[in-house]
């Protein structure tokens, strides 16, 4: 479980079915499933299995059946699936997402666009602590950052990864670390492995 005193970062909880919902969609980033963990999720969601869809995303998502199971190659396919959803999602739908933080917020944003409210979405952080970093200077997003200072994929400045999180961008803020004294870059630490 991810504990944090970053005020702008949401608190992530363990997933459990919200019995006030009538349809349940569980989306799991396959890489974040520990051995045996899918069994335990299956147990947790057994009460709603009749009305449960599970989307397993990425590799090695195991062979468990949790309701109706789909397999999707990557998070982009989840976003596409939402964008193309012909079935109208409504107030009875509940969405549960497990994965790394960038995965959680990619899915949550795509779901919000088709009408899911914050109360219908439950997010559980699992797996790597890697961060998506948004460059304050050129506004490019750099994915899979595990270090305290990262090179921006857009402008190539050295960005200090600040503990300030935007749900809208699903990203942490990156600020040029050597703006005041160009070239003075502190030691890079592996902070978000």
């Amino acid at each position: 479980m991810l504990h944090s005193d970053i005020k702008s970062r949401p608190t992530y909880t363990q997933l459990e079915p919200d019995l006030s919902g009538s349809q349940h969609l569980l989306i799991v980033e396959g890489d974040t499933v520990l051995p045996g963990r899918l069994d335990s999720l299956a147990g947790t969601f057994a009460p709603v299995e009749e009305n449960l869809h599970t989307w397993l995303v990425g590799t090695q998502a195991g062979g468990l059946g949790l309701g109706k199971v789909w397999r999707l190659p990557g998070v982009a396919d989840v976003v596409d699936a939402f964008a193309c959803a012909t079935r109208g999602y409504g107030i009875g739908d509940r969405l549960y997402v497990q994965g790394t933080e960038p995965f959680l917020w990619s899915v949550a944003k795509a779901a919000a666009i088709i009408g899911f409210s914050a109360e219908q979405i439950h997010l559980h952080h699992a797996g790597s602590l890697r961060r998506r970093v948004w460059c304050t200077h050129c506004h490019t997003v750099t994915e899979d950052v595990t270090t305290s200072i990262a090179s921006c994929a857009g402008c190539h400045r050295h960005l200090l990864v600040r503990d300030h999180f935007s749900r809208r961008l699903g990203a942490f803020m990156g600020v040029m670390v050597d703006a005041e004294a160009p070239g003075e870059v502190p030691a890079v630490e592996e902070s978000f492995a």
Binding site: I6, S8, T136
Partner: protein
Amino acid sequence: MSIAFKPEETFRGDYSYRNSDAAVLRFPFPFPEDRYMYSVNIEPHVRSGPSDVFLRPFDVDEHYIAECRDKAITLERDPGRCQVLPHMMMAQWDTLELLMENLSADYPEQFSLIKEGDDFGSRWTWINRPLGIEQSFIFGNAETLPCEPFEYITRQAQGDFAICDQRDDNLFMDAGMVTSQADWSLEFDVGMSFMEWHGPVPLAHQTGVFERALKYLLMLRLGQPVRRLNWTMSINPRLDTSPESYPEWGPDRASVTPDNAGQKVHLRVELQTLWRLPRSNAILFPIRCYLASLEDLARVPKWGARLHRVLSSLPPQLVEYKGLTRYLPAALEWLAQHDDGRELPVGTEPGITTLGPR
């Protein structure tokens, strides 16, 4: 009231911005005591106070024309400094109405508003003489303005503006015109809740300051605006100290020496006011920025000495958060010559009515 505008002064490049003697004496100096005290310090935004900047709800001063031009330059380079989420149109009109009515009532020589009615659908004519603008439009019809109403009116006002939408017992920063900010990014923060956008502020979260402030603001009433002062420091009189442009102004922080600190280091005071808006029930949050160099401030003996004492007593987390680390020692060394250790009266008033020669 006539105002001697200084249309040619600049807030970038050659930084020709200067305060007249009158502007120094009306500076909203924020420190009533010798020690730094963190407080929310919210009070009613009434037409009085220890500085003339409080006399009118939206203060217009000698820097008005130059500031509006600097804002236009920043927007030209980075249009994302003005953002409005789609559900905020009603709050946009609320803001336009509030500003036009107050400016035209308080500065009739400079601004006029002619209304054929108060309601949506009425024809209004707005005249802004300092900027040479005359615009007729239909109140409530954005098509009749050159841009959306919030951008239209805040381009013609000093300072930054945010609009907070109120829902779910929370405030969400769902619109902003932000070109003179103390190092926060609207593009990053837009849409955030009150606690989220205050996330990076050190020390205050632990004491419950933000919970109390939010509770208070949720109950803010129409016609009873409130205010507080906030402050930081900037090198050079630069309005655009955004994180977006930090690579441009960051190196200036390394250029300060005990010799040049008096001219380079500026106290940056924000007069923050909060207004309930009538139709949208949103809260308008204007952030009006005042800049004065240490040299300006030290011409008021009480302020020079007090600033030296306050800056000497800052908690280290705050020094870091405000970005002062690199140059604070040089600024303190410069200020020390203006502090003879005498006892200073409590309060922020300058205590003098004319300044000695520079």
